[in-house]
Symmetry: C2
Subunit: 342 residues, 2 copies
């Protein structure tokens, strides 16, 4: 089906566009009253993720309400460890929790991988197909996965952590076992993304949210090669890699075979351009907290950012939008980008 507003895909492919496309990480979520109303009627977060009709509904809400240039399928990066054999719960006010974690060789051996894991996630592919149908070509649909190191961290720690010291302990104490698990995660992720693409997503984004805890050497050993495998395996659609806190390895992220590099708000636009080269398409990077400010400041800061990027740019925040962000301020952000011309 022809996509009517293909601005996002043209920008991702590096084509010259009349203005940058705009969308927000976590745009399908608590900033929208229609999301909160639906969520309140459900048993929990996972019901939303696992019911294609509901995932479809909340994926499309921000397209209707905000008029953004791309949709992102409502899901969670932790569906992959679950498909591999570790179920998770989403605990209110605390976040994800895995009752069982990976400790031994037997634990790693037990994990399912490749298509055997990916085939557990039919509800995601159904949500994608349904959303493509309901979107009816209005805007492209983004699919996503976590980066293998990020998924690995959760499978070892069992929950969020300030330091991820237990996951790093595994890297130091058992590098061979760590590589085995990372490879299994990678193989499951590739099969998952390929099936998602068959179901209809137009671009895939890989989220590496736990990069900042690794040393450069660990990143080069345990993180980069597995993201590279994913990038190399996917050639059906454009790819975005967003490595939060990766300032210190941005040169390495830039060397991946991906179309777009996400930047968080710590990253200086000029410095990032110098590191990545001026031809790389970048995505980001307004501080999500800027949207707590007054509308005039939001407009001025957004316009300055658009000018500083100056092209080869997909506009977004430098992180997911925070749940308590005033919806009117989100609209000021989106409308400012949509009113801009290069």
């Amino acid at each position: 089906m022809k996509i009517q507003n293909d601005l996002f895909l043209r920008a991702a492919r590096g084509e010259k566009t009349e203005r940058p496309p705009v969308w927000l990480m976590r745009q399908a979520g608590r900033i929208l009253p229609q999301y909160r109303a639906l969520r309140a009627s459900l048993s929990g977060f996972k019901e939303l993720v696992e019911t294609p009709e509901l995932a479809c509904e909340v994926t499309i809400q921000p397209i209707d309400e905000l008029g953004v240039d791309a949709a992102i399928i409502f899901s969670d990066i932790l569906v992959i460890p679950e498909a591999m054999g570790l179920t998770y719960e989403m605990i209110k006010g605390k976040g994800p929790f895995f009752p069982q974690t990976i400790k031994t060789q037997a634990d790693v051996d037990r994990m399912v991988t490749g298509m055997n894991a990916a085939s557990e996630l039919q509800y995601v592919y159904d949500a994608v197909s349904l959303t493509k149908k309901e979107l009816n070509g209005r805007v492209p649909l983004i699919g996503f996965s976590g980066a293998p190191w990020t998924i690995f961290s959760y499978m070892i720690e069992g929950q969020g952590s300030k330091t991820f010291s237990q996951a790093k302990k595994m890297l130091y104490q058992n590098p061979a076992l760590s590589h085995q698990l990372l490879q299994k995660i990678t193989d499951a992720t590739i099969a998952y993304l390929k099936t998602k693409i068959k179901a209809g997503v137009d671009l895939v984004q890989i989220f590496d949210s736990k990069k900042g805890v690794l040393t450069r050497k660990q990143y080069e050993t345990f993180a980069l090669p597995y993201i590279a495998q994913i990038c190399d395996a996917i050639d059906e659609v454009p790819k975005t890699v967003f490595a939060k806190g990766a300032y210190f390895v941005l040169d390495k992220v830039g060397s991946l075979d991906c179309n777009v590099v996400g930047l968080d708000w710590n990253m200086d636009i000029k410095q990032s351009r110098d590191i990545l080269g001026h031809d790389k398409v970048v995505q980001g990077n307004l501080d999500p907290c800027q949207l707590y400010g007054n509308p005039d400041d939001i407009r001025a800061t957004t316009l300055q950012m658009l000018k500083d990027f100056g092209g080869k740019h997909i506009c977004n925040l430098g992180h997911g939008v925070y749940p308590d962000t005033p919806l009117d301020n989100v609209k000021v952000f989106v409308d400012t980008v949509k009113g801009f011309k290069y």
Copy 2:
């Protein structure tokens, strides 16, 4: 009193030393069985902080057990907000919690500052005097404070946070009030550090652990000027500034009037030297998780780090030592440094 092992102070002043001095952030703590035994007999963390005899005892434990080249007075950065008027609790498995937080102008007006705040912390000065007496000149004693932005974050959030989005919201929504509170924190901190120095500490370290959440512009507006005020006000003893996650503003940290810059483990040694200049003394920066590894790896990585720094270096981890680090591995780290010669 003459300090017998003054290696740490000579290195901090930029003098050429025969080897780098070594100490560990959080060396007085759970890695030591004698600390855990004492802690188990007490009502809580704050009893240890607020009882000079006990604070003195745990401050000296790592000097006896590990043979490190400096002691750091056992305390907490959150004594400052408490002295200003916001009491905190230390909740097991959760960390610090402030029942009341700063929301309005009236809240800021109510905060005590300068010597009126600093004079609330007599127990710290008593702990310093007693520790100096008990150390009897064996090694220098470090005093410390949090950086104003870090303290501000806790006073607004009331607890730890992944994003510190509420503290940042205050910066965006009420910059004038934010500056008032930051100035009050700064004035209290300067009075506190000066009184600590009078009580006997030989160097002060400023911990800025919440830098990574700010944009560069916010850092320049709300963080740097207040650390600069502290550095400019203290000239009695050498000063160390440790700004975790500050890679993206390391040039700015390097421009402060301080003797030593702390580096976390994300920071590449060569890149940091290039940014800071080769005359600046730096402290750090082994990944604390490296101490989970085997002794041979710890020795090899530590030696490589010492060679890479090559001088003008105080050896430490890139963050506080984690509580579950094997004590024998900590000793391997310390002994490797003590056996090294430039």
